[in-house]
């Protein structure tokens, strides 16, 4: 939308990239001080009532306890089998380790989140707030006692004690504590840049702020709780995946349980075949071994890492300086089809400046310039200032505003601003249709030559600003904007991700079309009003598309509330922040790209590890099945293509692989599978090769290596 609004922003740095943002905070796998608490937490999480929430690992834990019973039984010499007790002990240790590794993954993700949250929390240490009482007196209270609706005063050098909205004054604010960006930004009352965040520092001037979130309930507080896992709710996709994993667990239980009678059947037959007097025992009727088989088959890898993946996703969002109000919002971001972007400040630098005065017949360029400058005399927007400065540099003389004049400020409804001179002369500047309307209302007519003039300006990508003097059109001021560099590449990246970009602008369709073409966006919405934006989003959603939008102004709020992923800028108004489901601390309009990537990464990581986990099972079968029946159907050894040392070493190798793969994949779970905008088909092919085919092949190699290692360490019997 147009920022002919009152408050100016500091220009955003041009080449801000996510990588830079991320590097600002530590991205170590184990930030210092997280490993210890995570280990401790991993042990605490062995409690069955905690484990219960993760069905897959709960089954492993049950199996580990069941095996423990058999260890005890064997220790007292009541075991019926000839297998050494060391086998049972080793098996049980590795089963418990499997659970511990899983717990550690979750605990580590939470600890990282906490570390992340801690660095944020440091910015919100108790500060003294100076609260304005209704009577106008100022009292000093602790920031922790601030409540919704309190009014506070903050002066230069002070730290803003809580999230709020400026209701009076304008100030430059250092937000580096939360954004990492050192350049100060301007925040002021009344416009779309009125939001301030607790913990940031006022550098100049004095502002009055209305607190919009009670202490402990700010966005940041919510986010801290989310990354700490305290109020982490499972996302819809995570719930569905948990369900599928539980079903797989049940399926494998059903595969494993009947093996006992089947193996018994084989034992009975072989006893007859070998004419044995004593009963014959194979590992197929050995309960701990069947437990080991079950644990190897059920999707423990993804079951162990699922929670960590979700927490890490939120964490990554936070690293990109995005505060998501729920995990669901981040997940949905991966599904976005359409991205709505503001032209000004996103696609263009946003400092449109006047470059030419184009008068209609009967006026000179100087006269047009003078009238335009008069109309802009009170206009503090870059456009307004640039008109005045263009005129002044052309004529080498400052403009003089006659006394008794009244300024008309811009509103979204009139889409004009100007000046009413003492003599009743009404000078206006604004969009061509708005001015045409104005001229007609004043009883004038629009000259025929006027429209080609406007179109000419618009079609070269400049914005035509029309100036009227009462009922007469005076001419057109060409306002030109500069495209941000590298935007074309960014849109290309979005396109490769399968997203359609739509530029929203208050410009007329001709200008919009030219800029859209130059910038490489797929579509544009010109002369956008809040209603038009809302309508556009609804229309796309009716076609089943998911829409993401970034906004800052109060008039963006309805559209933000309607959009599926709505990122409000931190500098934006409270209404916008309430309506969105994420807040971008950097107030960077291109942040949507990162949000979408984080969402996609989240889903990809889950899919990749699930595929990997299931694909792993094939190799485990080839290790375990021959081992189960080594005493009864020895010729099944042909299946043992890995040529493992012995039945017990085969089973232990599989269990050890199954356990070790969990910590080995923690980095993947926490950092996420790399997303590349290749298009769905190429991406799927790539990931199927790595996680699917790789998941089938890797365990064959790894199990063999573990077996060889056990033999060389003389641990295998």
């Amino acid at each position: 939308m147009e920022t002919q609004a009152a408050v100016e922003t500091t220009p955003q740095p041009l080449h801000r990239k996510i990588t830079k943002v991320i590097r600002k905070r530590t991205n170590q796998l184990m930030p210092p001080g997280t490993a210890g608490p995570a280990l401790k937490q991993a042990v605490i999480m062995l409690r069955p009532d905690i484990q219960w929430t993760n069905p897959v690992m709960f089954v492993v834990e049950l199996g580990a306890f069941l095996t423990l019973l058999f260890v005890v039984q064997a220790a007292f010499g009541h075991s019926a089998s000839q297998i050494p007790i060391t086998y049972f002990i080793a098996l049980d240790v590795w089963l418990f380790l499997t659970v511990l590794f899983a717990n550690f993954a979750t605990a580590l993700a939470e600890a990282r989140g906490k570390a992340q949250a801690e660095s944020l929390r440091r910015t919100r240490r108790d500060t003294v707030a100076r609260r304005l009482s209704p009577t106008g007196t100022i009292e000093e209270v602790s920031s922790t006692h601030l409540k919704l609706g309190d009014t506070i005063v903050v002066e230069a050098g002070e730290i803003i004690p809580g999230d709020g909205e400026i209701i009076k004054g304008i100030a430059s604010v250092d937000e580096s504590a939360i954004t990492g960006e050192s350049a100060p930004v301007i925040r002021g009352a009344g416009g779309d840049r009125s939001g301030v965040t607790g913990g940031t520092r006022v550098l100049s001037d004095r502002i009055v702020v209305r607190i919009t979130a009670s202490a402990g309930e700010s966005f940041l507080d919510r986010m801290i709780a989310l990354v700490e896992g305290a109020i982490r709710q499972r996302t819809p996709n995570e719930i569905a995946l948990t369900l599928v994993l539980s079903a797989f667990t049940l399926i494998f239980l059903i595969v494993v349980v009947p093996i006992w009678p089947m193996a018994w059947n084989a034992e009975q037959y072989m006893m007859g075949y070998l004419a044995l007097q004593q009963p014959l025992h194979s590992l197929g009727t050995d309960v701990p071994t069947l437990v080991a088989l079950l644990v190897c088959l059920i999707p423990t890898t993804i079951g162990a890492l699922l929670a960590a993946i979700g927490i890490a996703g939120m964490d990554r969002a936070l690293q990109a300086n995005i505060i998501a109000k729920s995990g669901k919002a981040v997940e949905v971001a991966g599904d976005i089809d359409i991205v709505l972007l503001d032209k000004t400040g996103t696609i263009t630098i946003g400092n449109r400046h006047a470059t030419e005065f184009l008068p209609v017949e009967g006026y000179s360029a100087t006269e047009l310039g003078r009238l335009a400058s008069l109309a802009s005399a009170a206009d503090e927007t870059p456009e307004g200032k640039s008109i005045v400065s263009l005129f002044e540099s052309d004529t080498q003389a400052p403009i003089a505003v006659p006394s008794g004049a009244e300024f008309i400020i811009f509103t979204a409804q009139t889409r004009m601003s100007g000046i009413d001179l003492a003599g009743g002369r009404r000078i206006r500047k604004g969009a061509s249709d708005a001015i045409a309307q104005f001229v007609k209302e004043q009883g004038g007519t629009v000259a025929a030559e006027f429209q080609p003039l406007v179109d000419g300006v618009a079609s070269r990508g400049a914005t035509p600003l029309v100036v009227a003097d009462g009922p007469r059109v005076v001419g057109v001021v060409a306002l030109e904007d500069i495209l941000k560099p590298a935007m074309r590449e960014r849109f290309e990246r979005l396109r490769q991700m399968g997203l359609r970009t739509v530029m929203i602008t208050g410009d007329n369709p001709l200008t919009a079309a030219t800029i859209a073409k130059q910038a490489g966006v797929d579509d544009f919405l010109a002369q956008a009003t809040p209603e038009k934006k809302l309508e556009y989003i609804r229309k796309e959603q009716a076609e089943g598309k998911l829409v993401a939008m970034m906004g800052d102004g109060t008039n963006d709020a309805p559209a933000l509330a309607q959009a599926d992923v709505a990122v409000a800028m931190n500098a934006g108004t409270q209404a916008a922040k309430e309506a969105g489901n994420m807040v971008d601390l950097d107030s960077d309009p291109t942040k949507l790209i990162e949000v979408v990537e984080i969402g996609k990464q989240l889903l990809m990581t889950r899919g990749a590890l699930t595929t990997f986990s299931v694909a792993n099972d094939v190799a485990k079968y080839f290790a375990i099945i021959p081992a189960l029946f080594a005493s009864t159907l020895p010729w099944l050894k042909t299946m043992d293509i890995m040529h493992l040392h012995s039945p017990t070493s085969a089973i232990l190798s599989a269990v050890i692989f199954n356990a070790l793969i969990i910590p080995a994949l923690i980095p993947v779970a926490l950092r996420g599978v790399k997303y590349q905008p290749l298009g769905a088909d190429a991406l799927l092919r790539r990931n199927l090769m790595i996680w699917g085919l790789g998941g089938v092949i890797l365990p064959f190699v790894a199990i063999k290596l573990i077996d060889v290692a056990m033999v060389s360490l003389r641990l295998a019997s």
């Binding site: 093996i259 193996a263 018994w264 075949y273 991966g334 005493s631 009864t632 010729w635 042909t638 769905a680």
Partner: protein, 605 residues
């Protein structure tokens, strides 16, 4: 050898293309019929139904079918067309037979020519063939309509009528004439008594005359077409399609194979046409064909091109060590002695249990095809297939989607599609979606239920019977082969396939049989229950799943959307099926066919 299966598959595919077009027109209601047919159809039309009403109609119809079947079988002794006075079957066998026929399974714990009168054949078996065959057909049609978000999913009774009258009847009529021409009997007579060419072999009557042979006949030419076209597979004769009346010539054998594949092929394409996603359907068709060709090649390679291992030499003794507490060191050597080969020419492969009238590869081909499309008719003894060749029919039943039964095969494939998309499809970085509909937890719950039932119903009963006398006393050969017999019976039941491995003592016979198979009752009940559960849960759960999916908003295709008509998707689907199949059934495959294949001879018979 290879020409036979290749020509069967090619010809069926070519026939299925126009047929699918016809089927689509019929099921979409775009047809005109003679007035009297329309009149009947109008009477059946109870109006548009939602998915719950449709499902309820389906279940009620099946209940009626069950009662009807039970009554017909129970009244066999009192009914006409029974000159041989065939008596009452054992109650458990009646239960099993009714369940088996109404679910299109047709596992037979009886022998058609011995135990059924022609009245029963016509009013029970023949009727069930038509009606049970249309159930899966209707279910798939409902699922398609739900998936394309139709306002109503159609009317179950109208769909039944359309399938039976507009599709099965005309095609069966043409096929029946071909069978008649080839020599299948078509008569209401029940038997003929003839003097055989070797009267001495039949013994003599009291009057000194040679004993005549009683040859059972009946309306076989009409019976067989729907048996095959409806993928029912329950034989008129106990010998099924190996019987010279049921399958008189190599041509009828060819025809039987084409007939059983025709509708399963056509339904996949109908799925694509009705959804307007023909390319996707062809991809599924391709994946199914890939597996079908795989099972056929496997069966032919290991059965027709490899000798019977029971007759071949193992020139070197093999030694294995097994644990044995009694033996010194806790280990005992199992020595498999060297075996000399028998002087048998084996260049034609394993000929045991084959019907040589049809050619050497016909038995293996038929065996693979009949399980792939859940027909269950057989023209060779599956018990006699080389052990490893037997894996092919097992695979067909375990995965049950290499075309599969009419409708249900495609439904099973849909489950694999949905599960594959859900697990691996996330790797494109979007919430998994199928046909533009996002797959949520409710859909996955239903898909997993449907997927779970089949392995449960195979593995748990197999374990139960293998570990108890119920199974051990029924197997004709102990050990790995006996285990295969038990496994096959439950696989065939759960897959609603109906083919029999043979060799298992499951037949009780008539109720007054003084000497029935010892565990026949247990088998009747267990197999019957498995059939029932594995029939209806995997139909109803996907119907609900499709209804929930269809109710969702459809999101448009984009660059970031997983495409379901690319080679990558085919790879994903094949991978899903192979891995899930292997994970579920590798242990039992090892204990049965693989143990027998690698094991010594004589081992397990």
């Amino acid at each position: 050898m290879w020409i036979l299966p290749i020509s069967m598959l090619v010809i069926t595919t070519l026939l299925a293309i126009p047929l699918s077009r016809y089927m689509t027109r019929i099921m979409d209601g775009k047809y005109k019929v003679p007035r009297f047919l329309g009149w009947f159809e109008q009477r059946l039309n109870s109006g548009p139904q939602n998915w719950k009403q449709y499902t309820a109609s389906l279940l009620i119809f099946n209940t009626v079918l069950f009662v009807f079947g039970f009554v017909v079988l129970a009244l066999q002794p009192r009914m006409p067309l029974n000159p041989q006075h065939k008596g009452l079957l054992a109650p458990t066998t009646i239960f099993h037979t009714v369940v088996s026929f109404m679910t299109n399974t047709d596992v037979q714990h009886y022998s058609g020519d011995v135990h059924f009168s022609n009245f029963t054949q016509i009013f029970f078996a023949f009727t069930m063939f038509f009606l049970s065959a249309s159930i899966g057909f209707c279910a798939l049609t409902m699922i398609i309509r739900a998936l394309r978000s139709d306002s109503s999913v159609g009317n179950f009774f109208v769909d039944m009528w359309r399938v039976v009258v507009y599709m099965f009847l005309p095609i069966c009529f043409v096929t029946a004439i071909l069978f008649l021409q080839q020599g299948s009997p078509m008569t209401f007579k029940s038997f003929r008594q003839v003097s055989t060419l070797e009267p001495a072999a039949m013994g003599t009557l009291e009057n000194g005359q040679p004993n005549p042979q009683t040859i059972v006949v009946g309306p076989v030419a009409a019976f067989v077409p729907i048996k095959q076209l409806g993928t029912n597979g329950g034989g008129f004769y106990g010998m099924n399609s190996a019987h010279p009346f049921e399958n008189p010539t190599a041509f009828t054998n060819f025809l039987s194979c084409v007939a059983m594949m025709l509708f399963p092929f056509g339904l996949v394409l109908m799925f694509g046409r009705m959804l307007n996603r023909l390319k996707h359907a062809w991809l599924i068709f391709g994946v199914m064909m890939f597996f079908m060709v795989g099972t056929v090649v496997w069966a032919i390679y290991f059965d027709t091109l490899k000798p019977n291992p029971g007759l071949t030499a193992h020139p070197i003794a093999r030694t294995y060590e097994v644990f044995n507490a009694d033996a010194a060191g806790g280990k005992q050597a199992v020595i498999l002695p060297a075996v000399a080969g028998l002087p048998v020419d084996q260049h034609l492969g394993n000929l045991e249990g084959k019907e040589m009238r049809f050619g050497t590869s016909a038995g293996a081909t038929f065996a693979a095809l009949t399980v792939d499309v859940t027909d269950g008719a057989v023209n060779a003894e599956h018990d006699s297939l080389n052990p490893i060749a037997g894996l092919s029919p097992y695979a067909g039943m375990w995965l049950n989607c290499f075309f599969g039964g009419k409708g249900v095969g495609m439904i099973n494939m849909l489950l694999f599609v949905v599960i594959g998309i859900f697990v691996a499809g996330q790797m494109v970085g979007r919430t998994p979606e199928y046909l533009g509909k996002k797959i949520g937890s409710r859909e996955m719950k239903l898909a997993m239920i449907a997927l779970l039932v089949h392995p449960i119903m195979i593995l748990l009963p197999t374990g139960l019977f293998a570990g108890t006398s119920w199974g051990m006393k029924a197997e004709s050969n102990p050990g790995a082969h006996g285990f295969s017999q038990i496994l096959y019976q439950f696989s065939s039941s759960s897959a609603n396939n109906g083919s029999a491995f043979d060799g298992l003592g499951v037949a009780y016979g008539f109720n007054d049989n003084p000497n029935p198979a010892p565990m026949a009752r247990q088998w009747d009940i267990a197999s019957g229950l498995v059939i029932l559960i594995s029939r209806f849960l995997p139909i109803i759960a996907p119907m609900a799943m499709a209804a929930f999916l269809g109710a969702k908003k459809s999101s448009p295709f984009g660059l970031g959307t997983l495409r379901d008509d690319t080679s990558t998707f085919a790879f994903l689907l094949v991978g899903t099926i192979v891995i899930i199949g292997a994970l579920l059934f590798l242990p039992v495959a090892a204990l049965g066919p693989l143990a027998e294949h690698w094991g010594p001879l004589p081992f397990g018979g």
